[in-house]
Amino acid sequence: MTVRVLITNDDGIAAPGIQALAWAAQQRGLDVVVAAPMEEASGTSAAMSAMERDGRVVVNDHPLPDLAGVPAYGVAGSPGFITLIALHGAFGPPPSVVLSGVNRGANAGRAVLHSGTVGAAFTAATNGCRAMAVSLDVLSAGEATAASGGVAVDAAARVRDAERHWGTAARVALDLLPRLTSAPMESVLNVNTPDLPHGQLRGVRRGTLASFGQVQMTVAESGHGFVRTSLEEPGQAAQPGTDVALLAAGYASVTAIRAVSEATDIDLTGLDEQP
């Protein structure tokens, strides 16, 4: 039976990363449906928000270039909302896998709590569907040497979206699909890839979560739309073995994570005896 996959993201249906992920999924013979926010929704975590008109969620057909036959929708809602309603049949038969991305910018470390890309994946996992979040580190050194530092950042800012290596991230993600489908249902794979051609990756490695890391968000500026921001906790060397360190070293990083879990190491006995 063909696996049915929902492709979503938080950069919006028109972002280049979602196109690359959908294309790669179709190439692997998966049954693909695309539904993503009409507009940029970076940093929306697993928010449930939607815009309705006359009591109906607003959804537009939004066919993607070079993906004839793949149903694709722009939805006036957050990635988490879109994922939840997709799992309940809003866009045809419910998918059994959700791929969220390719995000413009890394989502690594504990800050992924805030990521809309990861939030969509968490929403899927919480509702019994396997999910992966996929991000491209557009601020990574790229082909510059690690030593070039700030220069590389300036260069990255000038790179056109069309020239970025979305395909690298999509390929790494789809190569991981068998690992995902054999993993426990609650687990989400969080994948980050440097902005490099696939042949120049140093490899794919399992990472641990950096203590804060890096997450994409948008800040609405009154009268000027929004500003895309990479929120980072700076000034500390990347802890070895973390997703942030792997990415900086030119590896694609995979982290297995879970959303809300119960904590057992806290004493909550005898609550009624309190004063």
Partner: protein, 320 residues
């Protein structure tokens, strides 16, 4: 600070008993608002442009109201009107709107009022008596310059002047349902339609919005939530001026550091008392204070708490 670009002289003929009386008062929205702010115990700097013979009469009349008056002297004369109230209702005998402010007069008044506004915690930007007397864009600049420097802007405007001031954002907007309809912002006076218009005004730049509705309780949009302003009904002697009382009441309470809900309740109380008297912009402080507790903000959004399931949400998808 109250910005009153074009105060007018009001000449009213009245006959409460056997003999007719002639009343001379300063008038215009800003003057009425300033009078009510003072009656609520808050000091007012009034910035106005005055000119000609009428201007010469207005200056002492304004000072005697108790405002701290700052004047730009105009080349052309201020306006005024003559009303006859002998038959019980107002009858207009003459209306002299005056000349539009000249470029030079606008610049001078703007500099004067901006300087005063920056010193004040709250500024009421009142409208001209006729829209064409003062360019709408002045209100946009004013609100922007005050807002950027921490000032709170309170207005009761409509038409182009409202559109302009919203571009820069205001702390508080009072507008009537008639004005919303006249401006094409609401298509009718039904609550849902007015509510929609209020959310749009809020989205368009007004932090808090109060819409008065003639005989119906006013609607208030506070922190994104809709309320009806309910209060004891008092018999109206002169229905005009309740709006100015609301605006002034809000400005006065906020200037004293009060919260917006108390401010709106005070404005409503002041308005309710004002309509029981003939003098526009008057109201006794202790009567108002006594009435504030009887004004209630009742949540008006009937769709406040729904229940839904993921399946139902998924079923609400529609393709356009």
């Amino acid at each position: 600070m109250v910005f009153a670009p074009t105060p007018q002289l009001t000449v009213t003929v009245d006959q409460p008993n056997d003999h007719p009386e002639l009343h001379l008062h300063p008038g215009g929205q800003g003057v009425w608002q300033a009078r009510m702010v003072i009656s609520l115990g808050v000091d007012v700097v009034l910035c106005a442009a005055l000119g000609g013979e009428i201007g010469q009469v207005l200056e002492p009349l304004l000072v005697s109201e108790g405002v701290d008056l700052k004047v730009v002297v105009r080349d052309s004369g201020s306006g005024g009107y003559v009303h006859d109230r002998r038959e019980g209702s107002r009858q207009e005998i003459a209306d002299v709107p005056g000349q539009p402010l000249s470029r030079h007069e606008i610049d001078e008044l703007y500099n004067l009022a901006l300087g005063e506004g920056l010193r004040a915690s709250v500024s009421i930007l009142s409208g001209p008596n006729e829209p064409w007397l003062v360019p709408a864009d002045l209100y946009r600049r004013f609100a922007a310059d005050l807002g950027a420097n921490g000032g709170r802007v309170v207005v009761d405007l409509s038409g182009d002047h409202l559109g302009s001031v919203l571009e820069s954002g205001v702390f508080f907007l009072k507008v009537s349902h008639e004005e919303l309809i006249r401006d094409g912002r609401a298509r009718s006076d039904d609550t849902e339609e007015l509510t929609r218009a209020m959310y749009e005004l809020h989205a368009g730049g007004a932090e808090t919005v109060v819409v008065s509705r003639a005989d119906q309780p006013a609607l208030a949009l506070i922190d994104g939530e809709l309320f009806q302003v309910e209060m004891p009904r008092l018999e109206a002697a002169d229905p005009r001026g309740a709006g100015d009382s609301m605006t002034a009441g809000v400005a006065a309470v906020v200037a004293r550091g009060g919260d917006i809900r108390t401010a709106i309740r005070t404005g409503a109380a002041a308005g309710a008392l004002n309509v029981t008297r003939h003098g526009l912009g008057t109201g006794r402080l202790d009567s108002i204070t006594g009435l504030v507790d009887r004004v209630r903000l009742v949540p008006a959004d009937s769709r406040q708490q729904e229940r839904t399931t993921p399946d139902e949400l998924a079923g609400r998808v529609v393709e356009r």
